[in-house]
């Protein structure tokens, strides 16, 4: 049974409204549906197999109805479709049963038959697949799960709730209405004014007011103007842009078209990282559909306005996330940032006025223009409006993507939404803002999350990476880690960034190896200040932040490394040793057999000993020693010196 595809060319705003109604009616004929998450995270956990099983079993029950038939008035008892990321990938694969919103986690292919039976035959729920909160309660829908309760979703509104490869679903949910409204009722200046009133600031890192940037570009002379969406997402620990692109690509395209109209651009690029193949595929598909329907491309919805964006595949350079480097890269050169001014809004791509906005910034626009700038401005703080998406990762219970109102405290994000640190370990710090951000200690947990508060505490909003560190994470090592990253990614033009960051890295490496000197700390601070002052782009200007912030809040850890040859977190390899407690060792021999370096000596009934000169500190013995003995431990500093005398 094949049906004619419902498709039309939308050439007036009223045609869009008509299409919306047709699509809404058609999807309403689906009495229920299973929405399987097919974001990168869930796919990695096997969600495509789950999706295939749903399709197979629904077909077997004779319930399979071609989506096109819905448009011809047929009904479907149930259906299966897929969505993008819900943000809770750690519990994936996720399946949502609509319209009830029943939220299944960690679904396996073998669970599908049971889910179908419960939903379709018995009207029950498969309890064991529901999320269980810390008190042991099962949560029926996403709204009951603590991870989602504290969130407020604007940019992620449709992520996980819609099929990203089906533009008709986007229409049904009010898609492209904001663009239609803008094209038919607003002059470009009015769009800029509305966005100005909303208070929207860029989500790509610096928090620059979006309307201001647009106004500069609108006023600048030069044709054609360009609208670029920055999808380079280089912060190593953030994935909100990827999720939005995969889960709701039309929102980004619609936002981009609105921005293009405001600044007067007819051409544009989406600069996407090479590591995001699925995001590229979804975008490509969304663009083709939008063009075919007439909501993107030439003469959009009959308005006379045309906008034709292209996808540019990044070639793997973090610095290309910086706007001037990104421009150089599209032009076909090395990704070298250049001195600003002139700002890209005046002189950008191919020398023409250009606006570059981040994915999340753009994804907020349809909402702002459709629901009114006042509604958006009512969320957040005085100077940071709306919400921000954070990637919560590291040592905490619930990792994933969360969208929260600006002004929420760090504590609420980590403990109420994130569920606190994992497995009874103790919170130590939170790293916010990636390589340009800083580490904040427990005392600052009640700090408000907004652009200005974070900056005054020595961190940065950055792209919104939030890495939770517990007592097993060494702060010197974290600082060293970020410097290794920035040193590797420095483009090399500015001496302070190229050589300074490298020298700071050498000093930090020495400290983590126990070769630090007391005067190093002041030296690091001085170098940090010089690099901040002497670099032309944001990479160099913020590279010392991870070091400066850890020196500010965790100086005692640096001092322990330098003065006592001790890594209090037992993490720096050079400063720790593995040691078998002779009083606890029962001579079971398991560690001896497991040690890849043959470094453990011992025999039956004789407590085992590690030959330190042979040990490569792989930690396998610690993992192998049975829990009931727990004879192997890591030691450092004075304790290590005392226990290993003569060893």
């Amino acid at each position: 049974m094949s049906a004619k595809q419902f498709s039309a060319r939308i050439d007036t705003p009223s045609k869009l409204t008509e299409t919306k109604e047709i699509c809404q009616a058609a999807f309403a004929r689906q009495k229920s549906r299973f929405l399987v998450c097919a974001g990168t995270g869930c796919v990695a956990m096997g969600s495509l197999q789950v999706l295939a099983e749903f399709k197979r079993l629904i077909a077997e029950r004779g319930l399979d109805v071609d989506i096109e038939l819905l448009f011809e008035g047929h009904e479907a008892k149930t259906a299966v479709s897929f969505s993008g990321c819900h943000g809770f990938c750690e519990r994936g694969p996720l399946v949502r049963f609509e319209p009830l919103g029943i939220f299944y986690t960690k679904v396996k292919k073998t669970d599908v038959a049971e889910i179908l039976e419960a939903a379709l035959d018995n009207g029950t729920v498969v309890e064991r697949l529901l999320y269980q909160d810390q008190d042991g309660n099962r949560c029926l829908t996403e709204h009951d799960v603590p991870f989602y309760k504290g969130q407020q979703r604007i940019a992620l509104e449709r992520c996980g709730a819609t099929n990203p490869e089906e533009i008709r679903e986007y229409f049904a949910q009010g898609g492209y209405q904001a663009l239609a409204k803008v094209l038919s009722a607003y002059a470009p200046e009015q769009v800029i004014e509305a966005v100005d009133n909303s208070g929207l600031r860029g989500r790509g890192g610096a928090g620059f007011p979006t309307a201001k940037k647009w106004a500069f570009c609108r006023a600048a002379s030069g044709e054609p103007k360009y609208m670029i969406c920055n999808c380079d997402e280089g912060d190593p620990g953030a994935f909100m842009d990827r999720s939005v692109l995969e889960a709701d690509p039309h929102a980004v395209l619609e936002g981009m078209a609105i921005a293009a109209y405001a600044i007067g651009a007819t051409k544009g690029y989406l600069y996407v990282r090479a590591e995001y193949p699925l995001a590229i595929a979804r975008l490509q598909k969304a663009m083709e559909q939008a063009q075919q329907w007439g909501v993107l491309g030439e003469n959009i919805m009959g308005s006379g306005f045309s906008f034709n964006p292209e996808i540019f595949h990044g070639a793997g350079a973090f610095v290309c996330g910086e706007e001037t480097a990104l421009i150089a890269s599209i032009e076909g050169w090395r990704g070298f940032p250049r001195i600003r001014p002139p700002f890209p809004a005046i002189k950008g791509l191919f020398g023409k006025p250009t606006v570059i906005n981040n994915v999340e910034t753009l994804a907020n626009l349809p909402h702002i223009l459709l629901h009114g700038e006042a509604q958006f401005a009512a969320v957040g703080t005085e100077r940071s409006k709306g919400t921000k998406v954070f990637a919560l990762t590291g040592k905490l219970r619930n990792t994933g993507l969360v969208e929260v109102p600006m002004g929420i405290t760090i504590r609420e994000v980590i403990f109420d939404i994130g569920g606190g640190t994992s497995e009874g370990t103790k919170f130590k710090a939170v790293q916010i803002g990636g390589p340009s951000g800083g580490c904040l200690p427990e005392e600052l947990l009640d700090l408000k999350v907004d652009f200005d508060s974070l900056r005054s505490a020595g961190s940065m909003m950055g792209s919104g990476g939030m890495v939770i560190l517990d007592e097993t994470s060494c702060m010197v090592d974290i600082a060293r880690y970020f410097l290794e990253f920035t040193s590797h990614e420095s483009c090399g033009q500015c001496t302070p960034c190229r050589d300074g960051v490298y020298q700071m890295l050498q000093i930090l490496t020495d400290i983590t190896c126990g070769k630090g000197r007391p005067e190093d700390l002041a030296l690091l601070e001085e170098m940090g200040r010089t690099i901040l002052a002497g670099s032309i782009c944001g990479l160099g200007k913020t590279a010392p932040n991870p070091v400066l912030s850890t020196l500010r809040y965790f100086r005692h850890e640096y001092e322990a490394h330098i003065l006592e040859q001790s890594c209090p977190s037992l993490s720096c390899k050079e400063l720790i040793a593995y040691w078998i407690d002779p009083d606890k060792c029962k001579a079971c021999g398991q560690c001896r057999k497991a040690c890849p370096a043959e470094a453990i000596i011992g025999e039956k009934k004789v407590a085992h000993v590690i030959e330190q000169s042979k040990c490569n500190k792989c930690g396998i013995c610690l993992e192998t020693c049975p829990d009931k003995f727990s004879a192997v431990s890591k030691i450092t500093g004075r304790q290590k010196d005392a226990l290993l005398v003569g060893a």
Binding site: T40, G41, S47, K109, G237, A391, T393, F485
Partner: protein, 160 residues
């Protein structure tokens, strides 16, 4: 891939037919050439220079700036161990070491049979599943050192 000069030339002509030869196409051209050959052979770089009227040194300079481009023959499958922040704090380093041991090569190298490359990347965008390994386009999440060999069978995880 060791192909005959004629075959290479044909492949390049095929790539070039999709472009105009403008400077701004340089990176997409290099990407397409690399897709064809698996890396950027010296001869191909020369041809790209001729086609785009950009000097050879400029082509080389641009290509070497980007981590994506390779100048030596590569393995069939690409293993990327994520060493982004989220993965770093959840044990990316021992995981990378385990891959080095399993494949008998260092990070950045290719196995002798040209089956695998091993490299580190900074974040593949699946941080909630840290530590993460990407093999070609498949992502393996919540990795453990003992699951290393699973990734070397070039197919996705079977969810059973």
């Amino acid at each position: 891939m060791p192909t005959s000069p004629e075959a290479s030339e044909q492949k390049l002509e095929h790539v070039f037919s999709r472009f105009k030869g403008e400077r701004k196409e340089l990176i997409p051209i290099l990407q397409t050439v690399q897709e064809m050959f698996g890396y950027l052979p010296e001869e191909a770089l020369k041809e790209v220079a001729r086609f785009t009227s950009v000097s050879e040194s400029q082509v080389y300079s641009t290509a070497t700036f980007y981590a994506q481009f390779h100048f030596k023959r590569r393995g069939k499958h690409n293993i990327k161990v994520c060493c982004g922040t989220a993965c770093h704090v959840r044990g990316a380093a021992p995981l990378l070491a385990a891959f080095e041991r399993e494949l008998g090569i260092e990070c950045g190298a290719t196995t002798d049979d040209f089956e695998f490359n091993l490299e580190r990347v900074a974040c593949v965008g699946s941080c909630a599943l840290a530590p993460v390994v990407m093999v070609d386009d498949s992502v393996f999440g919540l990795m453990e050192t003992k699951r290393v060999s699973e990734c070397l069978v070039p197919k996705g995880v079977d969810n059973e």
